[in-house]
């Protein structure tokens, strides 16, 4: 692929994914439980169930496990990472990086960058693009980018059905060592107030209908179309596609709008079973897709973050996938490892009960 458009993000040194790792906590809250408490059991359900983190889990612990899975696939020493970047909207501290704790736990310290990224649900892909730049400029051989969230919705709000927990970690390195080459990226950003949480507020606010057309659909279609046009590809050139997934309806519809089939998005459409994992959502769809992808497959990934923006990636799987994908647990294995909980247990696990 040759750059036909200077708005495409293509590093001077080709880069790719050396290793990847997913994480999903084991607890599941069926959407019927939320409906039972707040709707008298009536009304439509946006997903089947969502993942819920255990009492001792947060973005730090979940990022550590995903990063360890990525390292197991990459088979590099963590001390060779020059960046540990974590994108999330649920960092456990307001001030103190998640990334330093993750870097210390996986053994990447001290010769490394460490920073937390924020851009609602696209904080993870924002870190991914930055990692492409760091490696692509030859400042670093390897960089780790993570998108992970333990999102919260106000009790009874529409978001409570879907606000899930999970995410993925990616080690970016030189293309020739990669299991998937990132051919190009494209970012599309505007100031669109579809969803926000003020500093100090526990739960987010959203612009209801405003979250659809001018936000999610506009940014994803613009980003994906611009990437495909500039790189001379069409949906038929991609075996698989992954879109940000706040519910089941949105990614299904945006895929259709762009000309992708149900089959193309099926492996990466995880929201019905784990909920919306926010900064993790698009990129854990990608780990699940990489788990089943074959050498030569092309994957289109497009994230969406409220506020608002989308990052689109064109990714081509290499021969190395066959050997590396089995070195760590697959995304579907995490999804299958489930313990169902009721609303009361959920309320306790999410810290909605105070002991004083």
């Amino acid at each position: 692929m040759t750059p036909k458009n200077e708005t495409l993000l293509i590093p001077s040194r080709p880069v790719g994914i050396i290793g990847y790792g997913a994480y999903v906590p084991r607890y599941r809250l069926p959407a019927t439980e939320v409906a039972r408490i707040w709707k008298g059991g009536k009304g439509g359900l946006p997903i089947k169930e969502k993942s819920v983190p255990g009492l001792d889990e947060d973005v730090v612990t979940m990022s550590i496990e995903a990063a360890r899975n990525a390292l197991a696939r990459a088979q590099i020493d963590a001390s060779d990472l020059r960046a540990v970047w974590v994108g999330s909207e649920s960092h456990p501290y307001a001030v103190k990086p998640t990334s330093t704790i993750v870097a210390e736990a996986i053994g990447a310290v001290p010769s490394t960058q460490a920073a937390d990224w924020e851009f609602a649900c696209k904080a993870g892909t924002e870190a991914l693009v930055a990692a492409m730049g760091l490696v692509g400029s030859e400042m670093a051989e390897y960089a780790l980018a993570i998108g992970m969230d333990t999102a919260q919705g106000r009790p009874g709000d529409a978001l409570e059905y879907t606000a899930g927990a999970g995410g993925a970690a990616y080690i970016i390195g030189p293309a020739e060592e990669s299991l998937a080459v990132i051919e190009a990226a494209y970012s599309y950003v505007t100031d669109t107030p579809d969803f926000w949480r003020r500093a100090g507020a526990k739960y987010p606010e959203h612009g209801s209908r405003f979250t659809g057309e001018p936000a999610y659909f506009e940014h994803i279609t613009q980003a994906a179309k611009a990437l495909m046009e500039a790189s001379g590809t069409t949906p038929a050139d991609y075996q698989w596609a992954v879109f940000h997934q706040p519910n089941t309806k949105f990614p299904t519809r945006v895929a259709k709008m762009l000309g992708f089939s149900k089959e193309q998005i099926e492996p990466g459409l995880l929201v019905p079973l784990i909920g919306n994992t926010y900064a993790g959502a698009a990129i854990i769809g990608l780990t699940a897709t990489l788990d089943i992808a074959r050498p030569g497959d092309r994957i289109l990934v497009t994230s969406f973050g409220s506020g608002a923006g989308s990052d689109a990636f064109s990714i081509r799987v290499t021969d190395a996938i066959s050997e590396r994908s089995g070195r760590a647990p697959k995304t579907q294995e995490y999804i299958a490892r489930r313990t169902e909980i009721d609303y009361a247990t959920y309320v306790r696990m999410r810290g909605k009960i105070t002991l004083k």
């Binding site: 084991r26 001792d56 730090v60 612990t61 496990e65 704790i101 647990p329 299958a336 489930r338």
Partner: protein, 135 residues
């Protein structure tokens, strides 16, 4: 406030980093710089695999200060595959599923917070059942 202690212990806590004796190869956890087997100096760092099995266990219903929010939880003596016994909380497991000899693996989790909700978050190793079979 136990910040200096939490900071000093972070490597061994986050990733089960102990020592190996350069004289007799014994693996040592927690690190103590002296080999419990041969008595000689042992300061070489060693990262444990995190694999082990439950040697014995007990379930806590009345937790010490700082751990009240997690009751009931199970604490186990875990025999690491490299030899040492460590005491740790089990996680992602219901009490009735735990049995002696159960294979477990290390995960890094939130242990507690130092003081109240304004305090430092303390992370460290726990163990969970190995395997991805659905429950």
């Amino acid at each position: 406030m136990e910040i200096p202690r939490h900071w000093r212990l972070r490597k061994q806590r986050y990733g089960l980093v102990g020592e190996v004796c350069p004289h007799c190869e014994a693996k040592i956890f927690p690190p103590r710089d002296v080999c419990p087997d041969c008595g000689k100096e042992a300061k070489t760092k060693f990262s444990f695999s995190g694999q082990g099995e439950v040697y014995s266990y007990t379930t806590i219903y009345n937790a010490p200060s700082g751990f009240e929010a997690n009751v009931p939880y199970t604490v186990a003596l875990v025999k690491l595959e490299e030899g040492p016994l460590v005491t740790a909380q089990l996680t992602d497991v219901a009490e009735e599923e735990v049995e002696i000899g159960m294979p477990v693996e290390m995960v890094t989790r939130r242990l507690h917070q130092d003081g109240d909700e304004r305090g430092l978050l303390v992370y460290g190793y726990k163990f969970r059942p190995i395997g991805f079979a659905a429950h």
